[in-house]
């Protein structure tokens, strides 16, 4: 057990060179892209002169050579200074910390939505292979994988917001309902403070975006659960359990599902990346104030410091999720080690 702790610590420490590598790579790639942040910001605005453009570039240090800029950036990083966003002059750390909880809340709820739907469907489909339920749910999951989020999202808005009027079209919470900030996740904060109206309002706002984002994940997960269940159900230990006279439900859940979850955990781990990175479309449709929108916007405006920091956040999240996946393996299958 102690060994596991040490190994986890090692893995955590290993994220430092990864973060540094990502920072340098993004720094270079962003500057290889054509276009210039100052030009995009004021180059076409009324009354600006060439001198204004040069002055602002000098002020931001963009007239320095690349190695000097990189050196300054890394020196800032070491001090924990991520710099200022170029078009808005706001500290990058503030911009990211402000947007991150919204993205995390949406990703977690989508994941929850996906698992709650997908795991039972996968299990039932496997147990009753080739039944009506199996065929329908697999057809639905095929649809879920194929349907683009922007289409599904707008469809949801038209049905549930415009016609049925059950859910709001967009936004994260109605003005006046915000719970006191503890974690920044509105649902969690509302629960912690016992603020039920806020929880209800936040959930109503979450429903459509989480379902839209979660649909694709649910479809993938359902198919993986089904296929690994099918494999496990044919294994000898399942046959043995049945021979022992274990109740069928216990066979399915305790013996089969637990083992079938190992490949599922891998897939879910990978999907978390999709949920965090691929949500800019969903965030845009639902006016969700998350990190995805911030990053896309920052890339288009060549907001170097913001893109660099945001990509680092993504990279670190990937590393952490991978680590969590590996730890979860050892729990599901004690024979495995980190």
């Amino acid at each position: 057990m102690r060994r596991t702790h040490v190994q986890i610590l090692e893995r955590v420490l290993a994220t430092i060179p990864i973060a540094l590598g990502v920072a340098i790579a993004v720094f270079i790639f962003m500057r290889l892209m054509p276009g210039d942040p100052v030009d995009i910001m004021i180059g076409e605005a009324g009354g600006v002169t060439q001198e204004d453009i040069h002055a602002l570039k000098t002020e931001l240090g963009l007239d320095q050579s690349l190695p000097v800029q990189l050196g300054r950036y890394l020196a800032g990083l070491v001090r924990g200074d991520l710099g200022y966003s170029i078009p808005s002059s706001r500290p990058v750390a503030v911009v990211i910390l402000e947007a991150l909880p919204a993205t995390m809340e949406l990703a977690l709820c989508s994941l929850l939505f996906a698992l709650v739907i997908a795991v039972p469907i996968g299990v039932v489909s496997a147990v009753r292979q080739r039944s009506f339920i199996d065929r329908t749910s697999m057809a639905a999951s095929f649809l879920g994988i194929s349907m683009p989020a922007f289409w599904l999202g707008i469809l949801g808005i038209i049905v549930f917001s415009l016609h049925l009027r059950w859910l709001p079209t967009s936004g994260r919470i109605t003005y006046g309902f915000e719970p006191a900030t503890i974690t920044g996740l509105f649902t969690v904060d509302a629960l912690l403070t016992g603020n039920m109206p806020a929880l209800w309002d936040a959930l109503k706002h979450l429903a459509l975006p989480a379902a839209t984002l979660g649909a694709g994940v649910a479809a993938v997960v359902a198919r993986v659960v089904r296929s690994s269940m099918l494999e496990v159900l044919r294994a000898d230990y399942v046959l043995f359990a049945r021979a022992k006279g274990v109740v069928e439900r216990a066979v399915t859940i305790r013996h089969a599902l637990r083992n079938a979850l190992i490949p599922t955990v891998t897939v879910v781990g990978l999907q978390v990346g999709t949920l965090l990175g691929g949500n800019m479309i969903v965030e845009s449709i639902f006016g969700w104030p998350g990190l995805g929108r911030v990053v896309v916007d920052a890339i288009f405006s060549r907001d170097y410091p913001l893109v660099q920091a945001a990509v680092m956040v993504y990279a670190l999240t990937f590393v952490v999720v991978n680590l969590a996946t590996d730890v979860l393996y050892t729990y599901l299958n004690p024979k495995m080690t980190l």
């Binding site: 054509p34 276009g35 076409e44 078009p87 449709i285 006016g287």
Partner: protein
């Protein structure tokens, strides 16, 4: 042996240099030679949102025998390449804030200016627009701009394009609402027959800053102008009228003296006087004046040199040279409270902004929603924009809703009361909804196809004119924009000063286009 090898190498290098020179002149890449005149080959570059238009233009050009293809780009990449002179023709657009060609035709077409992506240069044009900028006599300026338009029309550095009308919509319960040409959404003047909160669906996905001196973005300004007022403002159709200023005089061509209205209060309770006005402008003018950073809005003030307090309610502005569009620029500078900012600092001011506008800041986030409440001690606003007095609605919320379909759905569902930018295809069906009012206003952005005037084939004015005759704009604009676009004769907008209404756009005339191309030595269909 050795020498001949060297000579061989030299001739190889020389050959490469010749080939490169030919290539750069467009002989090898753009226009393969043919016995009966060369075929004109062009690539039309565009961003994805104008792909249909680029394809339609390419089809029109192919119809007269030009080999034309459209290619899609990300804007910054395209601009970078166009500025380097590597592109042939590219779809671009440029907005104007001054209701004057000063920030449109000048930066786009004056020799070597910052927006001159077509590399156009004509000293006669430069002289004409420079003349219009160095005098404040409107008749002289108008004449100069007329001359510039005639020169442009003949030179045809672009395939002249169009401007769009901007369509906005509001719920039927919103009263006294009118979209403005400068995108202002003036919530002070609107009322509601039902409820006391007005929610605006913004087309942007974020406001850049809450500090009116720290951004260069129209949508941000649209939000902030409900919390901050300026010395002057505009009517919805672009006329400059007093706001915080009561009146002004111009004792010399480069001097403006403003009398400030008495009894104006900031949301913090402080009274507004000349010190606040001077401070607000110095904050924009001086380098590093905002917590070590400079305001990106300085350019709006042109050659403004000095802002001085004359007495408690009088301020004098001195410019280095006459600047005829100074008042139009002033509209975009908002007055901020000196004492408050000096007390709390610039960063805190950007978090909790305090102005003297009809609404005060309550809370919210730049990329989510910004919430304001009525300021009951408001001085009343511009007498030229009735009604005066405090705002009619109690609360105003600006929600960032970048997706147009969702904005419209929210409007129909009654979640928001006003939306920006209704796409033309949705506007038609929205007009049939009796709970909604739809209004349009002339846009201030010119859309065109710039031609690279520095290189063949478009260094020949005949070829450029041929392109203008070859494109069937009426059909393209009707198909894509459904009658919300107006074809332009040059790079000048009708809403801007000095527009010549007698100059008519190039007609669609493929026969004339072919004649011109033949004259220039190209084969036609």
């Amino acid at each position: 042996m050795r020498a001949s090898l060297v000579r061989g190498k030299v001739s190889l290098v020389a050959g490469a240099v010749v080939a490169l020179a030919l290539l750069s002149m467009g002989f090898l890449s753009g226009a393969p030679l043919k016995a009966a005149g060369k075929t004109l080959t062009v690539v039309i570059d565009a961003e994805a949102n104008r792909a249909d238009e680029a394809e339609a233009i390419a089809a029109d050009l192919r119809a007269i025998g030009v080999q034309a293809d459209a290619r899609i780009w990300e804007w910054s990449a395209l601009k970078d390449s166009a500025v380097k002179g590597e592109r042939q023709m590219y779809l671009t657009d440029w907005g104007s804030a001054y209701f004057d060609p000063f920030d449109l035709a000048l930066p786009k077409l004056r020799t070597g200016d910052r927006g001159n992506y077509s590399h156009y240069s004509n000293p006669a044009f430069d002289r004409a627009v420079d003349k219009a900028l160095t005098t404040i006599d409107p008749e002289v300026r108008r004449k100069a701009y007329y001359e510039a338009q005639s020169i442009l029309y003949e030179d045809a550095p672009w395939i002249f394009g169009y401007y769009l009308s901007e369509t906005e919509a509001a719920r039927a319960e919103v009263q006294n609402w009118q979209p403005a040409m400068d995108s202002r959404i003036n919530l002070h003047d609107v009322g509601l027959t039902r409820g006391d909160t007005i929610v605006v669906g913004m087309k942007t996905d974020k406001a850049v800053s809450l500090d009116p001196a720290m951004h260069r973005e129209r949508d941000t300004e649209t939000v902030l102008r409900n919390m901050f007022d300026g010395l002057v403002t505009r009517t919805w159709d672009g006329k400059v009228v007093p706001e915080i200023a009561e009146s002004w005089t111009t004792p010399a061509d480069n001097v403006y003296v403003f009398k400030i209205r008495k009894g104006i209060k900031f949301h913090s309770g402080e009274a507004l006087d000349a010190d606040d006005v001077v401070y607000s402008f110095e904050r924009v003018l001086k380098e590093g004046a905002i917590g070590g950073r400079s305001s990106p809005r300085k350019g709006l003030l042109g050659p403004l040199e000095k802002v001085e307090k004359v007495d408690q309610y009088t301020v004098r502005f001195t410019l280095a040279s006459p600047f005829p569009v100074f008042l139009q620029g002033l509209v975009h500078i908002q007055v901020v409270p000196k004492d408050y900012i000096q007390k709390v600092g610039d960063d805190e001011f950007a978090r909790k902004p305090v102005g003297c506008g009809p609404f005060k800041f309550v809370g919210g986030r730049l990329d989510d929603q910004i919430v304001m409440e009525r300021f009951d001690d408001y001085y009343g606003g511009s007498p030229d924009l009735p009604p005066m007095g405090p705002a009619k609605v109690k609360r105003a919320i600006f929600r960032m809703m970048p997706d147009p379909t969702v904005r419209i759905a929210a409007l129909k569902a009654g979640e928001v009361q006003i939306v920006q930018q209704v796409p033309p295809d949705i506007a038609a069906s929205l007009k049939r909804d009796k709970n909604v009012q739809v209004k349009s206003v002339e846009g201030t952005r010119v859309y065109c196809v710039e031609l690279n005037c520095a290189k063949p084939p478009f260094n020949d004015a005949r070829v450029r004119r041929a392109m203008n005759y070859a494109v069937n704009w009426d059909r393209i604009l009707e198909t894509i924009y459904g009658g919300t676009a107006t074809h332009l004769a040059t790079a000048f907008l009708p809403s801007g000063f000095g527009f010549n209404p007698d100059l008519k756009p190039y007609p669609y005339d493929p026969a004339r286009a072919k004649e011109l191309l033949k004259e220039a030595g190209y084969s036609v269909k």
